[in-house]
Amino acid sequence: MKDLGAYRPLDYFQLMEVSLRELLVEKGVVSEDAIAGAMAAMRERGPERGAAMAARAWLDPAYKARMLADGSQAAEELGFEVPGLRLIVVENTPRTHNVIVCTLCSCYPRMLLGLPPEWYKSKPYRSRVVREPRKVLAEFGLKVSPKVAIRVHDSNADMRYMVLPMRPAGTDGWAEERLAALVTRDSLIGVAIPVLPKKPKTRKS
């Protein structure tokens, strides 16, 4: 048999994507550069914007109230453009833990969190977190106390979701940027919580 190496012929949807893209360029609707630029920007974007929103909310109760009332407007208030995004921010409290999923596909607030991780799009996560959230969260290393209620949010139609995690203890007086650095992508999805970096152990040499 001939060794094809890593080569794989395009599948149906890949072929459709290439055909559509080439047609749009040929007809002058978009340019190759604009597409490449948008893809690069999408790949480079991480969860920094969502993290900045969380840190601001920790420091400014009035901002937090506005964010919980209208997530998209709160994003724009910090200068993040989110055209068409209908964002709902759900707040973790000592009594409630929130976690986000899209059981039907992989809806995700990409403008604020970047591309979704592979596991977020995987069938096991999507089908299991709605019915056994405690077990799934434990597999992520997050043990939620039985006293805390878990709210699973299925992002199944037109809204998008982001979790506002709880501010970790021991961060009094921290500046906004330092707080934002604690807010990870996973904590904004709700499969983790922000934790303080461990102090490096002093090694014996």
Binding site: R86, I88, T103, L104, V130, R131, P133, R134, P146, K147, V148, A149, I150, R151, V152, H153, D154, S155, N156, A157, D158, M159
Partner: protein
């Protein structure tokens, strides 16, 4: 735009139906009752949009909160654990 029939706090039930097409109401929640958490606004009907039609008049979309133990038999966890989904008005009936 279709007028919103339900308000936050109203008890509603998701229709148990299985039409063909692009339906944004997951199978796992059809037939179950919950409580309206908020009204999200009105949106073009995705079932119509998928057929290249305009999806108008826009349908009210609700966030509905379900108790986990109502949805999954033998659910283990806090009785206050909930599941929240978006459900279009035409998929809801008063309960």
């Amino acid at each position: 735009m279709v007028e919103a029939r339900y308000r936050p706090g109203d008890r509603v039930r998701v229709r148990k139906a299985a039409p063909l097409g692009h339906v944004r109401t997951p199978f796992y929640i059809r037939g179950y009752a919950g409580v309206v958490e908020r009204v999200c606004g009105a949106f073009a009907n995705p079932e119509e949009l998928a057929q290249q039609r305009d999806g108008l008049p826009a349908q009210p979309l609700y966030r509905v909160r379900f108790r986990q133990q109502d949805v999954w038999p033998g659910y283990r966890g806090n009785p206050a654990d909930v599941l929240e989904l978006e459900v279009f008005q035409h998929w809801l009936e008063g309960s």
